[in-house]
C-alpha cells in the first residue's frame, strides 16, 4: 500500500503585470486593478491588437540579468516563495528541495535574440542558444538557489502551471520527495503574440472573459508554490497556508487549439480533481476558472461549470486573467497562488470589466454559478479549485482546502508491466551526416492516418504519432468508449518542436509580428505531439509532456508509473521523442556538441505501454518485463553555474535507489543500457560510476552508436531494448539510465514479467 500523504502549501511567490510580489498581486486582484496596457517590448504597429500585460521589471533587474526572461521570472517568484516558506537554502535541507516548473514558450525571447543576431550577420550568442529549450528552466532555477532535489519542466502549454503543482503532489505521495518549488513561468514574447494574432485569437481591446469574449490578452509572469508533505512542514515548524488535496488531468481528444464545445474534457477534469480530493462537487466553493476570453473557451466553460456544479448554489467563480492577462505556462501557477490567497483570506477576486448592461447578460449565461463581477466577495470558504485548459486539449485542475483530506489514506500498490513497444528510429545518412527516420505518407496511410490529418503535424508530432500507434498495436489495445478514460499519455522530449519554433520566429523576424502563420503556430507548443496522439487515438485520460533533457525519455516512464500507481489510469503510453532536422543540426553544431569530438545526432520516437497488473491480466496482455524500480536524482555538487556538469553522487544515488526499490543487489543486474553518446568525457564518467557500483565486468549496452544521439528517444529506446532483452532471455534484470541538465539522472530497473 502507498500512503496518501497530506500535502500542504508553505510558501508563495508571484510576479505578473498586477504586482511584483504575492501581496501586491492579490491586493490588485481584489481591487480590480488591471495590468493590461499597450505592448512595450516589441513593435505591434501593424497588428490589429496592441494590448499586453507585461511585468514592470526589465530582464536586467531580474536574477542578476543572467538568464532568459522566462527563467528570470521563475527565479524571481521562486525567491519569494523560498523566503516566505522560511526555508534556509544554506542548510542541509536545501539538498532535498525539487523544482517543477511549467512553461509554454520557454526561451522564446532568446530564440528571437539568437536568430535576429544571425539575420544581422552575427554568429548568435551561445548564451542565448543555451537558454532556448524548456529543458533548462527548472534546472537553472534549482541551481540558482542551490536546491538539490529533482527537476522537471512541464510543457503542456496553458495547463503547464497547474500540472506542475499536480505532479509535485504525486511525487511527494509516491515517496519521491518531500518538498517542491512548483509553478510556472513565461515571458511576454513576439512568438506567442504573433501566433495568437494570426489565429485572430487576440482581443483588439482588453480581454473580457465571461463577458464580451472577443479574444485573449497575453500576459507574462511566474507563480511558485512551496508544496510540502505535512510531516515535513510540521517538523521544521513551517507556516502552513492550506492543504492541496488532489488534482485531475484529462485530454479532450478533439482539436489542437479549440476546446470541445460540449465541455466534456473540462467536465472530466473537474470531476477527476474533485474525486481525487475525496470531495463532491457540492463541496467546492470557489473556482478560479480558466476564463481566457475567447468565445470558444468561455462558452464551453460556462457550460461545463453549470453542469458540473448543478445543485451547488454556493460556488463562486472568476477569471483573474481579466487583470493578469493570459500568462500561458505561468497562468495556472499564478492562478493557484491567487486561489490559495483567496481561500486562506476569505476574499474572492472578481472578473473585471463588466458594465451594467453586461451584468444583465452575465446573469443569463451564469445559471446557478455565482460569477464574481467587478468587486471581490468576502466569504469564508473551505475548498477552492483552480482550472486550466490548454492547446492540445490538455486539461488540469487542482483543489486546495483549509482542512486535510477526509477520505483516502492509502491506495493499493500495483505491479507495473511493459505490455507494448512502438519504435521509430533513424538510419544513418551520408548526405546529412546524421541518423534520420524514414516516415513517409504511405506508412501513415497503412495505419489509417489520412492526409488531411497528417499534413497538420510537424515532424516531432509525426514521429510521436507513429510510435504511439505502433505501441498500441503491439499491445493489442483498441481505444474505445470503454477504455478511453483509462489510458493516458506521458511524452518525454529534450528539444520539443524546435524546428517549428525556429522557423516561426525566423518568419516573424523576416516578415513582421503581424505576419505569423496560423497554420504553423499550434505546432510551436511542446505538447502538440501529445495532443495529436490523443486526438488521433481517442485517448482521453492523463496527458503530460515533460521536457527535461535526454533523460525525459525515462522520466516519462517514472511519471507514467506514478499516474497508474495513484489510480488515475490503468494504462499509460510513456514516450521519448526528438527530431533531427537542419534546424536541430545547426543548433547542436553551434553548441559544439556535434561532429568531431562530439556525437552524431539522431532522431526518433519510442512509445512504451506501461500497464498495471489487473488490467494486463484482464486483457491477457503480453508482458515484456516488469518495472521493479524507478528513480530520478540530482544534486548541486560541482559548479552550479555550469548546467552541463556531471555528478557521480547523483548518478550513484539513482542506481542505489532503483536497486533498493527492487530489493536487489548490484550483482543481480545482468546489464545496463547506458547513455554513452561518443563524447569522451561523458562516456568515461559513466563507465567509472558503473564499475564502482557493479563490477569491472558489468555489461553496458549502448544504443546511440547504432541510432545516433536521439536524446529523449534514445533514453526510451534504451528502456525498450532492455524490456525486449528480458523478454527474449538476453538479460534477467537490467537498468536503463539517462541524464539531463543540471546533474539530473533517471534510472529504471526492469525484471522478468
Amino acid at each position: 500500500m502507498l500512503d496518501v500523504k497530506r500535502c500542504v502549501i508553505t510558501g508563495l511567490g508571484l510576479v505578473c503585470a498586477i504586482g511584483n510580489d504575492t501581496d501586491e498581486c492579490f491586493e490588485s486582484a481584489l481591487n480590480g486593478r488591471s495590468g493590461i496596457a499597450d505592448v512595450k517590448c516589441f513593435d505591434t504597429s501593424n497588428c490589429y491588437s496592441h494590448k499586453g500585460a507585461e511585468v514592470g521589471l526589465a530582464t536586467g533587474e531580474l536574477a542578476k540579468g543572467k538568464y532568459d526572461r522566462t527563467t528570470a521570472l521563475g527565479i524571481k517568484a521562486a525567491g519569494e516563495a523560498i523566503a516566505d516558506s522560511g526555508l534556509d537554502m544554506n542548510s542541509e535541507a536545501a539538498s532535498e528541495i525539487g523544482v517543477i516548473l511549467g512553461s509554454c514558450i520557454a526561451g522564446a525571447a532568446s530564440v528571437e535574440k539568437y536568430y535576429r543576431d544571425k539575420e544581422n550577420g552575427g554568429k548568435g550568442s551561445i548564451d542565448d542558444l543555451k537558454a532556448i529549450p524548456a529543458s533548462v528552466i527548472a534546472g537553472n532555477v534549482a541551481d540558482y538557489y542551490k536546491a538539490g532535489g529533482i527537476t522537471a519542466n512541464i510543457v503542456n502549454a496553458c495547463a503547464a502551471g497547474t500540472l506542475s503543482v499536480a505532479l509535485a503532489i504525486d511525487l511527494i505521495r509516491g515517496g519521491k520527495g518531500e518538498i517542491f518549488l512548483a509553478g510556472g513561468c513565461d515571458a511576454f514574447a513576439s512568438l506567442p503574440f504573433s501566433g495568437f494574432h494570426a489565429l485572430k485569437a487576440l482581443d483588439a481591446n482588453e480581454c473580457s472573459p465571461f463577458n464580451h469574449s472577443e479574444g485573449i490578452t497575453l500576459g507574462e509572469g511566474a507563480g511558485v508554490l512551496v508544496v510540502e508533505s505535512y510531516e515535513h512542514a510540521v517538523k521544521r515548524g513551517a507556516k502552513i497556508y492550506c492543504d492541496v488535496l488532489g488534482s485531475g488531468v484529462s485530454s479532450d481528444a478533439y482539436h489542437i487549439t479549440a476546446p470541445r464545445p460540449d465541455g466534456e474534457g473540462q467536465m472530466s477534469v473537474i470531476r477527476r480533481a474533485v474525486d481525487n480530493s475525496g470531495l463532491t462537487a457540492n463541496d467546492i466553493e470557489y473556482v478560479n476558472a480558466h476564463g481566457t476570453g475567447t468565445a470558444k473557451n468561455d462558452e464551453a466553460e460556462f457550460l461545463s461549470l453549470k453542469i458540473c456544479f448543478e445543485g451547488n448554489d454556493h460556488v463562486y467563480a472568476s477569471s483573474t486573467k481579466s487583470m493578469t492577462g493570459h500568462c500561458l505556462g505561468a497562468a495556472g501557477a499564478i492562478e493557484a497562488v491567487l486561489t490559495v490567497k483567496a481561500l486562506t483570506e476569505g476574499k474572492l477576486p472578481p472578473t473585471t470589466g463588466y458594465t451594467e448592461e453586461d451584468l444583465g447578460v452575465l446573469k443569463e449565461k451564469a445559471g446557478a454559478v455565482n460569477f464574481i463581477a467587478n468587486k471581490p466577495v468576502r466569504k469564508d470558504i473551505n475548498y477552492a479549485m483552480s482550472n486550466s485548459f490548454a492547446f492540445g486539449g490538455n486539461n488540469a485542475s487542482i483543489v486546495f482546502a483549509k482542512d486535510p483530506n477526509p477520505v483516502k489514506n492509502t491506495v493499493r500498490k500495483y505491479d507495473l508491466y511493459v505490455t507494448g513497444i512502438g519504435a521509430v528510429t533513424g538510419e544513418y545518412s551520408e548526405e546529412t551526416g546524421d541518423y534520420r527516420a524514414n516516415i513517409d505518407a504511405d506508412t501513415f496511410k497503412s495505419y489509417g492516418v489520412k492526409t488531411a490529418f497528417l499534413r497538420k503535424l510537424d515532424r516531432l508530432s509525426q514521429l510521436q504519432l507513429l510510435s504511439g500507434i505502433k505501441a498500441l498495436e503491439d499491445a493489442g489495445i483498441t481505444v474505445n468508449e470503454d477504455n478511453e478514460d483509462l489510458i493516458g499519455i506521458c511524452i518525454g522530449t529534450s528539444d520539443g518542436p524546435m524546428t517549428e519554433i525556429a522557423n516561426f520566429q525566423k518568419g516573424i523576424i523576416r516578415d513582421g509580428v503581424d505576419k505569423g502563420s496560423a497554420f504553423a503556430f499550434p505546432n510551436t507548443v511542446y505538447n502538440a505531439a501529445g495532443g495529436y496522439l490523443s486526438i488521433f487515438t481517442g485517448i482521453k485520460g492523463y496527458n503530460v509532456t515533460i521536457a527535461n533533457g535526454n533523460q525525459s525519455g525515462l522520466q516519462s516512464i517514472c511519471a507514467a508509473s506514478g499516474a497508474i500507481l495513484f489510480g488515475y489510469e490503468d494504462i499509460m503510453l510513456a514516450t521519448g521523442t526528438d527530431e533531427c532536422t537542419e534546424i536541430d543540426d545547426g543548433l547542436y553544431s553551434d553548441l559544439g556538441l556535434k561532429g568531431k569530438g562530439g556525437f552524431t545526432l539522431g532522431e526518433g520516437s519510442v512509445t512504451c505501454v506501461i500497464e498495471k497488473d489487473s488490467s494486463a491480466d484482464a486483457r491477457g496482455a503480453k508482458r515484456y518485463a516488469k518495472i521493479a524500480g524507478f528513480s530520478s536524482v540530482r544534486d548541486t555538487s560541482g559548479d552550479t553555474a555550469n548546467n552541463q556538469r556531471m555528478s557521480e553522487a547523483a548518478l550513484t544515488k539513482a542506481l542505489e535507489n532503483v536497486l533498493a526499490e527492487a530489493g536487489m543487489k548490484p550483482e543481480d543486474i545482468s546489464c545496463i543500457y547506458g547513455f554513452g553518446n561518443g563524447i569522451d568525457k561523458i562516456d568515461v564518467f559513466e563507465m567509472e560510476v558503473y564499475k564502482k557500483i557493479f563490477s569491472d565486468n558489468i555489461e553496458v549496452r549502448l544504443v546511440k552508436q547504432d541510432f545516433g544521439e536521439a536524446r529523449a528517444a534514445s533514453a526510451s529506446l534504451q528502456f525498450a531494448m532492455l524490456a525486449k532483452d528480458i523478454d527474449e532471455g538476453r538479460a534477467a534484470n537490467g537498468i536503463a539510465v539517462s541524464f539531463g541538465t543540471s546533474a539530473l539522472y533517471s534510472a529504471v530497473l526492469l525484471t522478468g514479467a
Binding site: 485572430k200 487549439t257 502563420s517 496560423a518 497554420f519
Partner: protein, 81 residues
C-alpha cells in the same frame, strides 16, 4: 480561368498548408474529407492570397473557398492590375 493564378494558389497551399501536391487538383474540394481544411487553414489562405495578389478575401463567401478554381475566380475578379 487563369492557369498562372491557379498554379500560384496551388503552390501557396502546398507550401503553407503542407497539402501533398499530387493530391491537389484545381477542382479538389478544399474543405471536403480528402483535403480536410479547417478554420485555421482558411485564415492561412486569406494571408497567402493577400501576400500573393494583394486581394482581400475577408468579403469572400464560403463558396469562394471551395476549390483552387473558385479562389482563382475570386482573385481574377478582385485583382487590381
Amino acid at each position: 480561368m487563369s492557369n498562372e493564378i491557379a498554379e500560384k494558389i496551388k503552390g501557396m497551399l502546398v507550401e503553407r498548408l503542407r497539402i501533398p501536391a499530387d493530391e491537389l487538383e484545381y477542382d479538389s474540394e478544399l474543405f471536403g474529407e480528402d483535403i480536410g481544411l479547417d478554420s485555421i487553414d482558411s485564415i492561412e489562405i486569406v494571408v497567402g492570397i493577400e501576400n500573393l495578389f494583394g486581394v482581400d478575401l475577408s468579403g469572400a463567401s464560403k463558396e469562394d473557398f471551395r476549390s483552387i478554381e473558385t479562389l482563382t475566380a475570386y482573385v481574377e475578379a478582385h485583382k487590381e492590375d
